[in-house]
Point group: D2
Chain length 287, copies 4
């Protein structure tokens, strides 16, 4: 599977019709693409087509600009939405975090060990707790307290930071503030959150308390794209762990932290490797 | 762990206080019990104590009647609720089923192969579909159609059948009728249902449709005791399986059937082996 | 995903080279194929290419015979190995079983409920135990005792039965005899077995005993194609379940039975839906 | 379940006989113990008894010294082996690591966040790579290169360090040197290792390569106590993850790292909370 550092990727979706696989693969082959992975999906109910193609670009005869121009012409009659990753570019990721640091610690360690192929130009927090970890990994840290009074101003400052640093993806690594719909609308499909329950079960606050109260035998965590509706965006990944009557709140929270780490880091990696397509408030994940 | 055919089991719960383990184990030891498994739990929040003790009865010096009388005296000052299984008795189980037969087929095969230590004096259905399977396993089958008009009468007939056959446990093996609260109140903690979702996510009808619609990455099934509130009784067991964007409704339904079989049969086995205590709309499962 | 009753499937593998996806999809598109699923894989180490294409055949302009002829010509210069499933044909499956019936019961129930898209022209056993189950599902049952003396003759009888019934796939549903390499060589890649351990751990006899002895915390089961080397053929599917110190042999065996059912039935279904390619003693499973 | 900071724990095993639960619970109750968890197990085959009792020590009337003396007298006629954790004492853990840092990073983060109730007086490594991480968590780091020539001397230095720092438990967090049997014999049942396969499958070097080569569909990791025989000590915990034909070596290694973290940290936590008993080259884990 690899992490795609040296390959190009096209993510495409459009109304379904015959001949799409042939047309796409022929277009790329005619330019010298060495297709390494081709994954395709159709939603029969919606009549929609999805495809991810990853190719080695050694003999590819189009520059990024030329490819964008030519593919745009190719795609138009099919009404394709498409995203291109050309080798050598690295997405720029901002991480927002509050005082729980397990997801941040996990993401930064994975980043340093090469699992996450991106730049991290900034970490933003409404607490000081993450500052030492950011410093350890030599990443810029911005402390921006948020409260009911300054929330609007704080978000404007955050958005300016994102714009200044040309951020492509915002990761909410247990960021405990709800983003306004204004903020969210600036990054459609570009904000990933981790929710500490098995959505759609138990949305909202204190899901571990609610899970214990209901006496579930399995708890979960969910990573999803953020939309204007709380905890209702397209689900990217979920994972679960068993709990028993022996597990008290602190045990459930501890077990849950392991899930949160895993589902968030998988979602971020898949997004960075251009494996996710969003549609109809769902995701296609070509893993 | 074994299936407890030749052992006695005491299931006890009561307000927590010091010395309960010592008192219970000393009582049994003083009568020659050879304790094979002792499992205990406290709910610190509720201040409640739970214990399951299983012992080899070879040298035990009390008959079932004497034990019931003596233990009743012992238990009273502790305000204990208790259930006793004496070796040689087998619980009597009625299975209610509609036209999906995978859970029934699974339960009957397990029963025949010795996994479920019980009698099955009757299978009741509002469809004819299960009749051949019941016949194959030489079990009495009662066809009782249920519709909006006759529901009350049908339930009375069902209840009479249960009473006539001295039924201890009613298993709803994908029985597609909602039991009235009158019916449920006759068998408190004595009806086990399987719901084809990961409760509390997606209660009610057509949960697989709802799971697909929400775009979840994991589906589940839940076995639980039936209470007057639909899908809200104490959860006994849950299990899950991954789904992807490739899974269409028929795939989700197929994967779900495997979960339903497993969570229902585990719940029934644990109940029959006296491993489950119900409290505060939850369960303690001493597995 | 569906079960492919009305679709055609091509399974292809060949030395990797540029343009294979384009060539294959264009060939099919040019004959009116409505491609529903296209899944592709390359083994970079071996330089090998694999593809599965499933298409709706409503507007497809080639009969099965014409397609076989034309595709044979197409495939030759690429040195492709290929398998075709044309709509309407159903593979013919023989099941071999001994006295443990849980896998057989599971397969037959799934078959009847439509999960397994095949004919089952015969069930063969060296015990009588499976006869009633075969009768219940109205399937021909052949009792063929096997012992050290008659093994060679018995296998000849079995092979003749397979040939007379035009069997495409042989499923060993806990068949407790080891097939000779002569037998196996008659059905290369056409015999599926279930082994009750997590291969390559604990091959050979009595794996549950060995698992208990080693004190593992997880047991597994494995379905695989049978080759001349015992328990060493290409693995198709594996699954696992947790065990604890509480689990005695009978518990481990019971838990294991649930795994065996699941991994065997998945393997059989995937084989029937032409989802599996074998190479280098491994499998590609396009699920 | 909790992490046991304020509670006392007794871990006991001895030849099985009647009355052990009663005797143990009565002994503790008579001294004012408020039993919070009592878990018991018998190995019927070996005729051996195991028990873990955890109690709130608020009203307990024995000091640690008095308890050790009195319990020693109590235990002798039963031939009990026993371990006592008295509230307030924290085990002292040394971590040995090489150049893969994911397990170390995980353990140190968990330690700082309070999941692991122990002191870490030293981290020892044959590489410099872990030095910054140790510094970040303000833990003493000892760089001790090991090669074929100096191995014996290096181990003597390591052992002296362990002795000087009164180390109770040694954790091998992907430490890539094989400890000599002399070293191991100094810490019987006191060294925990993580092996990156699903033991007993694929012991020895390069297990991920071997797993890929065999074409398994699931990989695993195993934490175990170290004995003189490589990868053959009592298994504490195992976990698994699915792999497919798409996973190349780097993917398998990445997925495996997540398993290694989890199985090692669980093993360490259970050991620190006195939940593990070793016998017959196996473990009883009272979780």
């Amino acid at each position: 599977m690899g992490n795609g550092t040296k390959t190009a990727v096209l993510l495409v979706d459009c109304p379904d019709r015959k001949g799409l696989v042939a047309a796409l693969s022929t277009f790329l082959y005619s330019h010298g693409a060495d297709i390494m992975h081709a994954d395709e999906h159709r939603d029969a109910t919606l009549g929609w087509f999805f495809m991810r193609i990853e190719w080695g670009a050694a003999d590819f005869d189009l520059s990024e600009d030329d490819l964008r121009r030519d593919f745009s012409n190719f795609a138009e009659p099919f009404e394709m939405r498409w995203r291109l990753k050309y080798p050598g570019t690295r997405p720029r990721v901002a991480i927002l975090v509050s005082h729980y640091l397990h997801c941040l610690n996990d993401l930064l360690h994975r980043h340093e060990s090469g699992e996450l192929n991106c730049e991290i130009p900034l970490i933003v927090s409404n607490h000081q707790a993450a500052a030492p970890l950011a410093a350890f990994y030599r990443l810029p840290f911005h402390y921006l307290p948020v409260n009911q009074e300054n929330k609007k101003t704080a978000e404007e400052t955050q958005l300016k930071l994102m714009a200044d640093h040309h951020v492509d993806l915002i990761v909410l690594a247990r960021y405990m503030q709800i983003l306004s719909s204004d903020f969210v609308s600036q990054y459609p499909g570009g904000i990933i959150n981790v929710h500490h329950s098995f959505l759609p079960a138990i949305s909202g606050a204190k899901p571990y308390h609610a899970a214990l109260e209901r006496g579930v035998k399995i708890i979960g965590a969910t990573s999803h794209y953020v939309t204007a509706v709380l905890d209702a965006g397209p689900i990217i990944e979920q994972d679960i762990v068993r709990v028993t009557h022996r597990d008290e709140l602190e045990d459930v929270v501890r077990k849950g932290r392991d899930l949160e780490r895993v589902v968030l880091s998988r979602a971020v990696r898949w997004h960075l490797e251009h494996r996710i397509l969003q549609y109809a408030n769902k995701t296609v994940v070509f893993d």
